[in-house]
């Protein structure tokens, strides 16, 4: 009895050590930083200024040193792959930014407020300009691969003045048959000279009208670009017939997206569905023939 007790106790202590060790390993001391907000939409007159602020927070397990700076921001392709280097012939707006505090050391659990000012030169034309304010760790070392982390706040600046606001739904693609997870793709085009925000709402419902999934996003659409907005229903239905509808609000108008019917099923379920349909048709045909034979005998 005593042996069993000590055996169980040893096993328990061992399990505790193993589990404790695993947990500790999973939460190995991590260094990095957090910022808020992740973007800013700013409107400024030529020659005007805008004052804002960004929070830098140390939620990691190590004290950090960091710096704050501005870079250009541009996107490439419909996926809006971001770039933070200057584009030839584009206005270098990094000179427009000045910071009240450009970084330093930040202890675990603390946060800094970074005041920034955007000063737009008088001779700048109306339109959209973009930049990113980064907070970057200043990890140092002299051996191996030294890793720095940076997180950026994208700043969408609209310099006020005469501008063309024009956009459209470029495409709305919902494959009628697909495997889980459900996906659809909306493409928004900006044919104007200033960016705008599109408020996208998509609803997936069953054939009785019951809402099964809703998608709501507010992506920025940059001038002379098409933005692909993927709509994915993660961990959603794996089988069934659904109705998809939605709308997009942009530039003070609302555009309804055409309603689509979608059949979601993986390959075995598709085969099963086709098999059941064929069986049903076969039964109807056989019963029909039997009736025809019976009525002809009469």
């Amino acid at each position: 009895m005593r042996k069993v007790f000590w055996g169980k106790l040893t096993l328990g202590v061992f399990a505790l050590l193993v589990l404790g060790g695993m947990t500790q390993n999973a939460n190995a001391a991590s260094g990095g930083l957090t910022i808020s907000p992740t973007s800013a939409d700013v409107k400024v007159e030529p020659g005007g200024t805008y004052k804002g602020q960004m929070l830098v927070i140390n939620q990691g397990e190590l004290d950090i040193n960091y710096k704050v700076y501005a870079t250009p921001y541009s996107v490439n392709g419909e996926d809006y792959k971001p770039y933070f280097t200057s584009v030839p012939h584009a206005t270098d707006i990094t000179k427009w930014f000045s910071f009240g505090y450009a970084g330093g050391s930040l202890k675990i659990g603390n946060q800094d407020t970074i005041p920034y000012t955007i000063t737009v030169p008088k001779d700048v034309g109306a339109g959209s300009y973009y930049g990113t304010v980064f907070a970057e760790t200043e990890d140092k070392g002299n051996a191996g691969v030294i890793t720095r982390k940076r997180v950026g706040m994208v700043v969408y600046i609209r310099v006020l003045g005469a501008a063309t606001e024009k956009g459209s739904v470029s495409s709305w693609d919902v494959p009628w048959i697909q495997e889980a997870p459900f996906n659809a793709t909306l493409k928004m085009a900006n044919e104007g000279s200033v960016h705008f925000q599109a408020k996208v709402k998509v609803r997936v419902s069953d054939l009785f009208g019951g809402t099964k999934f809703t998608y709501e996003r507010d992506p920025e659409i940059i001038p002379q670009k098409i933005r692909k907005i993927p709509v994915t229903w993660e961990n959603g239905a794996t089988f069934g017939l659904f109705k998809v509808d939605g709308e997009v609000n942009y530039l003070d108008k609302t555009e309804k997206l055409p309603t689509r019917i979608v059949f979601i099923a993986n390959t075995p379920m598709r085969l099963l569905t086709v098999g059941m349909l064929l069986a049903f048709i076969a039964i109807v045909v056989v019963l029909g023939r039997k009736r025809a034979v019976a009525s002809s005998k009469k």
């Binding site: 910022i35 808020s36 992740t38 691969v145 030294i146 982390k149 997180v151 996003r217 507010d218």
Partner: protein
């Protein structure tokens, strides 16, 4: 003047009645509706398990390879998700020790290559042409002919290693670094600096 007990009881009963009936009236009179507004700010964070990834190599004549990992953890409440990129911190992509260097792998994210001696590179399982893996760490072992690496790009042309389309909570990405060297590589402490960039979409 003495108040009769009966009167006292009546007065007490009236007072209790008034308080019972009156209290709800008072409470009802103070009732008002309040609208609570709360704007939740967007946040994004990036953390790594290491500030420095150590990939020491004891070289052999034929070449030895060390593979070590770094785990990135990204969180954001931005509903459009985030993009995570990797690039060198400057335009020089070699591992450097004084005047000596270890060249970046000749592969890229789309077409990574098996490492050759005296090169270094990165890979992320399941991204670009790297293949599914899973990659595992090794220390000064024979150079793998199947595990493929890309050279770390210069700061002007970062590689995207993850894009998401919704909020993320402690979403992890493992980046593997490989260093291969033979005995012709001069001894030294080689290093380079990588920058991970996370931005909301």
């Amino acid at each position: 003047m003495k108040i009769p007990k009966k009167s006292q009881h009546i007065a007490l009963a009236i007072a209790m009645l008034v308080s019972v009936v009156g209290l709800p009236t008072v409470a009802g009179a103070a009732t008002t509706s309040t609208t609570i507004n709360s704007a939740i700010s967007s946040v994004i964070s990036v953390f790594t398990s290491n500030g420095t990834v150590t990939a020491n190599v004891t070289p052999t004549g034929a070449g030895a390879q060390t593979i070590a990992s770094d785990t990135l953890t990204v969180s954001t409440n931005d509903t459009l998700g985030y993009t995570l990129q990797l690039a060198d911190s400057d335009a020089t992509t070699t591992l450097t020790s004084g005047a000596n260097t270890i060249a970046a792998s000749s592969g890229n994210q789309t077409t990574p290559v098996a490492q050759v001696v005296n090169t270094w590179g990165y890979r992320v399982d399941g991204v670009g042409g790297f293949g599914a893996g899973p990659t595992s760490g090794q220390s000064s072992a024979a150079i793998s002919g199947t595990i493929k690496f890309a050279g770390v790009p210069a700061n002007a042309s970062p590689n995207t290693i993850k894009t998401t389309a919704t909020t993320a909570s402690n979403d992890t990405t493992t980046v593997w670094y490989g260093v291969a060297a033979n005995t012709t590589q001069p001894t030294g402490t080689y290093s380079d600096t990588i920058t991970y960039t996370a931005t909301a979409n």
